[in-house]
């Protein structure tokens, strides 16, 4: 069997159902095998689209996403997508062709040092120099990508290795002596944590993406209800706890709810689970949660005490830790006074917006979308204002229903990610909440949608601006709108030219009908919502401030 065939057989054995990719000179042997191999292949229109689609597929399903590109520019086009998956701990395997082994290092045509380029943005990477190592490398790559704290793994395969012949042997078991993640929490630490929880008066659960990765959302709910603690979620944690639950505070941080931020700052105990105290969450670090002791449950020891000093660290997988932790809590703390305080904050500082002027308010579109879907949909987003509104104005009820670029903040992520999500969850309606700026960054993937009948519903919040940057310019740069007003094509005609459906909505009264039509449509739809051009995302914590020093322009 040749290397190319071994690659495909191995991918199948490893559980890959779909590959997103783009052909090129140094992957010709692989594409020759793909021609009649029984695996789904989705040809994107740009390698970046392939990487984000694999990422979106993974976020929607929990499985390892796979993308494939040729050497040189094909591989460098994957780079943003790989970095994006790395920042958000998404399991992904990226396969790149490489020039022949005898040419490596010669500045050959379409050569790039891809393992070198991707070293800091992958969990691990491999250059396969001998076809005999290929199947084992693929098995190891899937194992590394999906275990411990997940992440992307890249495999660079020179074209002569793809052509070389050897016997195909699939390793059933993988053991890597230098890589043994910790899964079960230390019982002594769990006991200490349980004791501390019992004695807390103002506990708060700070839930991150690790809950979703671990599949610990049911245990999280059990814990929250048992100890009657409010739950705030990070951006990556949205969906880990039902947004409609009375203990939910929604998201915290820079564009979090005021009550989540106040509760975090006033709490006497933070129970952090699968979250990493990112700077968008903590704001100014030395002012963060001054009264709180911190219990931190995380599978990655390097996340613990990196930013915030932790009192009780517990390294392991949330789903293995929460069960014993819940059992160890003999006496639930009395939080009734605390919950009352929080209710008062909720009443005093609700998320709010005003219908003013003739334009549609973006928040209203999301409220209507919620009303029509009630959480039974996958919401992908681009990056910027539209993304933050999608965090605030839609309730996520279950894990893997909110798919968005967190750590890296990649404009152009949402649309291809939605393609991947739809392939992973064909039973779900998949939306991409986009801005007029972001959507233009990977708009070529319209062709991928139409050619493969992947019905993604794209809601463009069109305000004629790169809105989030404009908001910062308005607030911190004296309204000097430097290169943030942007022009766009006619999105309706553009969608139609690709064979998709285009709808333009300019009035509030048309919003609901347009959404209903969009949901019913058996095609990809672009909806061009003309929204309030200078609407801001409120509340907001200015960069470098304490998170209870929010500003809000609604008064």
């Amino acid at each position: 069997m040749n290397g190319a065939r071994i690659l495909l057989e191995s991918l199948k054995r490893a559980g890959a159902e779909v590959i997103f990719g783009y052909p090129g000179g140094q992957v010709l042997p692989i594409f020759d095998q793909l021609y009649d191999f029984d695996i789904k292949f989705i040809l994107t229109r740009h390698e970046q689209g392939a990487a984000h689609a694999a990422d979106g597929y993974s976020r929607a399903t929990g499985k390892v996403g796979v993308c494939l590109a040729t050497s040189g520019p094909g591989a460098t086009n994957l780079v943003t997508g790989i970095a994006n998956a790395y920042m958000d701990s998404i399991p992904m395997v990226a396969i790149t062709g490489q020039v022949g082994t005898h040419l490596i290092g010669n500045d050959a045509f379409q050569e790039a040092d891809v393992t070198g380029i991707t070293r800091p943005i992958t969990k691990h990477n491999f250059l396969v120099k001998d076809v005999k190592d290929l199947s084992r490398t693929i098995a190891e790559a899937f194992y590394i990508a999906s275990s411990g704290r997940p992440g992307p793994v890249l495999i660079d395969i020179p074209v002569d290795v793809q052509r070389a012949e050897t016997e195909f042997i699939w390793p059933e078991k993988i053991r890597i002596r230098s890589y043994q993640p910790t899964y079960s929490g230390h019982p002594g630490q769990i006991k200490k944590a349980a004791k501390l929880i019992s004695s807390a008066k103002k506990p708060i659960i700070y839930a991150g993406g690790g809950i979703i990765t671990s599949g610990a959302h049911i245990l999280l709910r059990e814990l929250a209800e048992k100890i009657q603690a409010p739950v705030t979620m990070t951006f990556m944690g949205l969906g880990a706890f039902p947004g409609t639950h009375k203990l939910s505070l929604g998201m915290l941080g820079m564009h979090g709810t005021a009550y989540a931020n106040h509760a975090t700052m006033e709490s006497d105990l933070i129970i952090a689970i699968g979250a990493r105290f990112d700077d968008r969450v903590t704001g100014r670090l030395d002012t963060f949660a001054p009264y709180a002791k911190v219990i931190h449950i995380d599978i990655d020891p390097s996340s613990i005490s990196k930013n915030v000093k932790v009192d009780i660290p517990i390294v392991g997988d949330a789903k293995n830790i929460l069960g014993p932790l819940i059992n160890q809590i003999k006496k639930a703390p009395d939080t009734s006074a605390w919950l009352k305080t929080i209710d008062a904050w909720k009443k005093k500082h609700p998320l709010a917006y005003k219908h003013t002027g003739k334009f549609i308010k973006p928040q209203y579109i999301l409220e209507e979308l919620w009303d029509l879907t009630k959480g039974d949909a996958v919401i992908c987003t681009e990056v910027g204002q539209s993304q933050m509104w999608a965090c605030q104005w839609y309730n996520y009820l279950t894990p893997r229903t909110f798919i968005s670029s967190g750590g890296l903040g990649t404009m152009g992520f949402g649309f291809p990610a939605a393609i991947g999500a739809k392939l992973g969850r064909p039973d779900k309606e998949v939306f991409n909440i986009a801005g007029d700026g972001s959507i233009q960054m990977n708009i070529q993937e319209l062709a991928t949608c139409v050619a493969n009948k992947i019905n993604v519903k794209v809601l463009i919040f069109n305000n004629g601006f790169l809105g989030m940057v404009r908001q910062w310019q308005e607030l911190f740069y004296k309204k000097r709108y430097s290169y943030t007003p942007i022009t766009s094509p006619d999105f309706v005609k553009l969608a139609e030219s690709y064979g998709a459906i285009g709808i333009r909505v300019t009035k509030k009264s048309e919003v609901r009908k347009a959404l209903e039509k969009t949901i019913k449509a058996d095609n990809t739809v672009f909806v061009d919502f003309r929204i309030e051009p200078e609407e801001n995302v409120w509340p907001m914590v200015p960069a470098g401030q304490a998170i209870n020093k929010m500003i809000d322009g609604l008064a």
């Binding site: 890597i176 002596r177 890589y179 020891p301 390097s302 005490s305």
Partner: protein, 157 residues
Amino acid sequence: MRHTISVLVENKFGVLARIAGLFSARGYNIASLAVSETMDPTISYMTMVVEVKDEDVLEQIKKQLNKLIDVITVTDFTKREHIDRELVLAKVNYAAKDKDKLEAVFDKFVGKIIHHKEGTAIIEAVGDAQQIKLLLEELSKFGIKELVRTGKLAISN
């Protein structure tokens, strides 16, 4: 403060780059680094001296090193009994009339002359940080023309 850390790694190409990349990407400084194979040719041993401003940074460095897939174990010698040594080769000014003076240095300090020709002697010395420091102070009186050192090697005892 300086700390000595040893790292056992898989002896594969690219491992040194991963470690160097980790340090540069996070802004940590490596004061010295020594790498060699062990008795098991699939494993390499690295001794590094790192310069950090506090214990938290050291802790983070150890965790980040452990996170690399090819790293097998990380040992911090800060609070462990160990022996460390460094090898130094120094080229010093050497005139025939200085012979006795230079040889007298080695009665008190580590090191020996391993090669000389008119005008120059090459000194070899193995010792711990303090011994090397004292030797170099002495040698600088003669004028050190060139100096190469291995960086620290450490082993627990």
